[in-house]
């Protein structure tokens, strides 16, 4: 059993503080936080690495003296903006956890429609308060983004470890195809399925293609992603522009590209 008092307080002789970590959630499915509890094999080691002072989904009470805030979810209501600002004021490091927090996630799909229509479609004439779904960075400075819907636990653990020992955080610049091939998969296009692997940032270890399911771009664009060529590939293989847009816009990471496509092609 890990005993936090005996925890090494240094890494290679450099003093290491066990940071106080808090989890928060705005509009989301809370899945990214749960990924942390889904880490049965490494959960205890993780809990020894950081001190969790707030995790509403798993614990009562909790302190406000956190240094690292892991914020999940997108902003869809004014009270969330206020909460977010309070968190920002307290946290030394504000981390956007998951695609909702980084890009708006699936929630931003509602931004395709006028807000009034959206409210009426679900709540009829009943009064309901909502705003377009937005990423955290539209409201506060975000220090670090952890991509994915859901986040990959191995990656979260790696990033948190690096944070704790004071190492710079790095992400893959390359697209998912790289990891897909390293896993020995036959390309989904060969099997007649669309995939956004060629333009999506890797780091998930090609989670979906490993299951013979095409990527939907949940981690957003890779560095210098060649979207024009991606579109040419989809066209050439007979996938409609609608299919491509469905995927590109699913998680919000490609928002600007989708806006351009819609403007060009008149798609809703």
């Amino acid at each position: 059993m890990p005993d936090s008092s005996s925890t090494p307080k240094n890494y290679l002789g450099v003093p290491v503080k066990r940071p106080k970590v808090a989890f928060f959630e705005l509009s989301s499915c809370e899945g990214c936080q749960l990924q942390m509890l889904n880490n049965e094999s490494s959960l205890l080691a993780f809990l020894d690495l950081v001190e969790i002072v707030r995790f509403r989904e798993a614990m009562s009470g909790g302190g406000d003296d956190y240094e690292i805030a892991l914020v999940e979810g997108s902003v869809t209501r004014s009270d969330e903006v206020e909460r977010l600002k309070i968190i920002r004021a307290q946290a030394r490091l504000l981390v956007a956890l998951g695609s909702c927090a980084c890009f708006g996630g699936v929630n931003q799909l509602k931004n395709r429609f006028p807000l009034d229509w959206v409210k009426r479609e679900v709540y009829g004439e009943h009064p309901i308060d909502t705003a377009p779904a937005r990423p955290l960075s539209d409201f506060v400075a975000v220090d670090l983004k952890i991509y994915g819907c859901p986040v990959k636990k191995e990656e979260v653990e790696r990033i948190v470890t690096d944070l704790v020992i004071g190492k710079d955080i790095a992400y893959p610049d390359y697209p998912v195809c790289m990891e897909c091939k390293a896993n020995g998969n036959l390309c989904l296009f060969e099997l007649g399925e669309p995939c956004l692997g060629p333009v999506t940032r890797a780091g998930c270890d090609a989670w979906c293609p490993n299951s013979r399911a095409g990527c939907w771009g949940c981690r957003g664009p890779a560095t210098d992603a060649n979207l024009a060529q991606m579109l040419a590939i989809m066209d050439e293989r007979g996938f409609s522009r609608e299919t491509v847009i469905d995927r590109l816009e699913c998680f919000g990471g490609f928002a600007s590209q989708v806006a351009a496509l819609r403007a060009a092609g008149g798609h809703r």
Binding site: Y11, L12, V14, I165, G166, K167, A170
Partner: protein, 302 residues
């Protein structure tokens, strides 16, 4: 078959991966004996190879580099900045630039680091004997050059006129300021310049590019056989060595007598990872020290 498979025509023989990997991945441990702050960005690390036998066997030549590793943090190439005669007591001048180097700026003396190497080519000091030396550095380029300077100090009689031309961004960025007097005491002329002294009113030295000093230097000695009897060692960012070498060429210093040190990304130092390739030349094996003629012939070198 006697249970063992052997691919012909290679000879039979025990080849266990782990023992070999131990050799390939052999890291000699060195202790950081002192850390000396040079500027905001750079520290000088004095390292001592821990094992006395290894320390004695550790030899290198000016211009060669080491791969320095911190477990779990990273591994990266650094030029050795100290005198070759000190063997396994080496000094590295390291600038904070990324993951490993930032972490290194936080460590304390006493820490063990891993060293692999030395790797790469060196400045051919022996063949420069009897000649004039122009040692030209820009910014962090003084780090590899310092190894040459110490060599010259220790073998001063082997060389004719020796000039150091060194340029930095501003006075606060000048490296090894505490050694300038000693260099000059060894009859090495030192010419300093900075790009800008706006932030430091006390600076009464030159402002401008090193090429300016170089041009003056040649102008003063024009006429004799100075150029043909001169070797140049140029260390600095690509823009800098490009213009310096162009000027030297114009002054008719032979290209084979100009040496530059190229910097590329490196992950192995052993000619395997390909990260350092220039065109299709491995900087870690055929470099980092190249003569300028070779560099001119490397695609995408400059």
């Amino acid at each position: 078959m006697e249970g063992r498979l052997v691919l012909s025509p290679s000879e039979a023989g025990g080849h266990r991966r782990r023992t070999d990997l131990a050799a390939f991945e052999h890291t000699c441990q060195a202790e950081i004996t002192s850390i000396h702050r040079l500027t905001e960005q750079e520290n000088l690390y004095r390292l001592q190879v821990v094992d006395p036998g290894e320390r004695e066997r550790f030899t290198f030549e000016p211009g060669q580099f080491l791969m320095l590793e911190l477990p779990g943090i990273g591994e990266a190439p650094f030029s050795i900045s100290s005198s070759p005669s000190r063997k396994g007591d080496v000094e590295l001048c390291i600038r904070r630039a990324g993951s490993l180097t930032n972490f290194l700026s936080k460590v304390r003396r006493g820490l063990h680091v891993g060293l692999r190497g030395p790797f790469g080519t060196s400045f051919p000091m022996a063949s420069m004997a009897g000649q004039n030396l122009l040692l030209i550095a820009g910014g962090l380029g003084l780090a590899p050059l310092r190894s040459v300077i110490t060599y010259v100090q220790e073998n001063r009689s082997h060389f004719e006129e020796v000039d150091i031309l060194y340029g930095a961004k501003d006075p606060s960025q000048l490296l090894f300021t505490y050694q300038y007097e000693m260099w000059q005491a060894d009859d090495i002329r030192l010419h300093l310049t900075v790009d800008s002294a706006a932030g430091d009113p006390s600076w009464d030295g030159r402002v401008g590019l090193v090429t300016g000093i170089l041009a003056e230097l040649f102008a003063a000695r024009r006429g004799g056989d100075f150029a043909s009897r001169t070797h140049a060692v140029v260390c600095g960012p690509p823009v800098m060595f490009k213009s310096v070498c162009a000027l030297l060429t114009q002054e008719e210093v032979p290209m084979q007598k100009m040496f530059v040190s190229l910097e590329r990304r490196m992950h192995c130092g052993m000619g395997k990872c390909c990260r350092c390739n220039v065109g299709s030349t491995y900087t870690c094996l055929s470099g980092p020290v190249f003569d300028y003629w070779t560099v001119m012939n490397l695609k995408e070198a400059i």
